[in-house]
Symmetry: C2
């Protein structure tokens, strides 16, 4: 447990979700609020030499999962995280290696989530993950995740 949170997350992803290895996911950064996963284009390419929608969807699913994992880890909480539902918009093609960014919602929402989780051992959080830059989102993903005691 001496490794950094992002190193432990990366190991957990590789160990527990083998498809993340096929996608080539690495944990690029985490500042306590925003997490970024990176993936190369090559293993995720489609018939148009852009990123396959299913790869982007899977990477975004992992970005939300990872942000929640890192949040719980920072609070010493060991809950399981599962996804309940999601939607995704493919706004522009992704033509190169990419990162998926997921920022936690505002502090009051996160606090309410953590309080509910402590009281009821189960709580839900909506997360947004994006590929691209703020001025030009290539992909926008919204997912609802549930944390629960195993």
């Amino acid at each position: 447990m001496s490794a950094s949170p992002t190193a432990r997350l990366e190991a957990a992803l590789a160990r527990e979700i083998p498809l993340s290895r096929a996608i080539g996911i690495t944990v690029a950064s985490w500042d306590g609020r925003t997490g970024r996963l990176a993936a190369p284009l090559a293993p995720n390419v489609n018939h148009q030499d852009t990123a396959f929608g299913g790869s982007l969807s899977a990477a975004a699913t992992l970005a939300g999962w990872s942000a929640l994992w890192l949040l719980l880890d920072a609070h010493g909480m060991q809950h399981q995280v599962v996804i309940q539902d999601a939607s995704i918009e493919y706004r522009h093609p992704v033509t190169a290696d990419f990162t998926v960014e997921c920022a936690l919602p505002e502090v009051s929402t996160v606090e309410r989530f953590l309080t509910t989780l402590r009281e009821r051992d189960r709580a839900r959080l909506g997360l947004v993950a994006t590929v691209g830059s703020p001025g030009r989102e290539l992909v926008r993903f919204q997912g609802r995740y549930v944390a629960l005691r195993p």
Copy 2:
């Protein structure tokens, strides 16, 4: 071009979308209206020994893409197919090897789609893909796809 449509689709998926190989996708059946893709659980497993949501999302994305590919192939049309947006509900865990089924919408909708595509070289079709049985859907996916002349 002498192979069956499903054999050609399977070759196209393996050649053009490498992640479909990592997921272990095979084309299980196509009756001219409903297509089924199959995937093993092992490469798609998550931290709970059920299918990872991102794998299910990617497989469902491919199921819709494949149904549209097979429809166009049956009409001798060579358009590209891309996904525009999608939503997915994870209703129950997928605990074993799985199939994703995608049925084309009613005939009048498909005819309108094909007419628009012939007239304008671009048309959009909404498709539903599911994992599970009609009485018990484990996963429900809705995607909007665009076919366009390359």
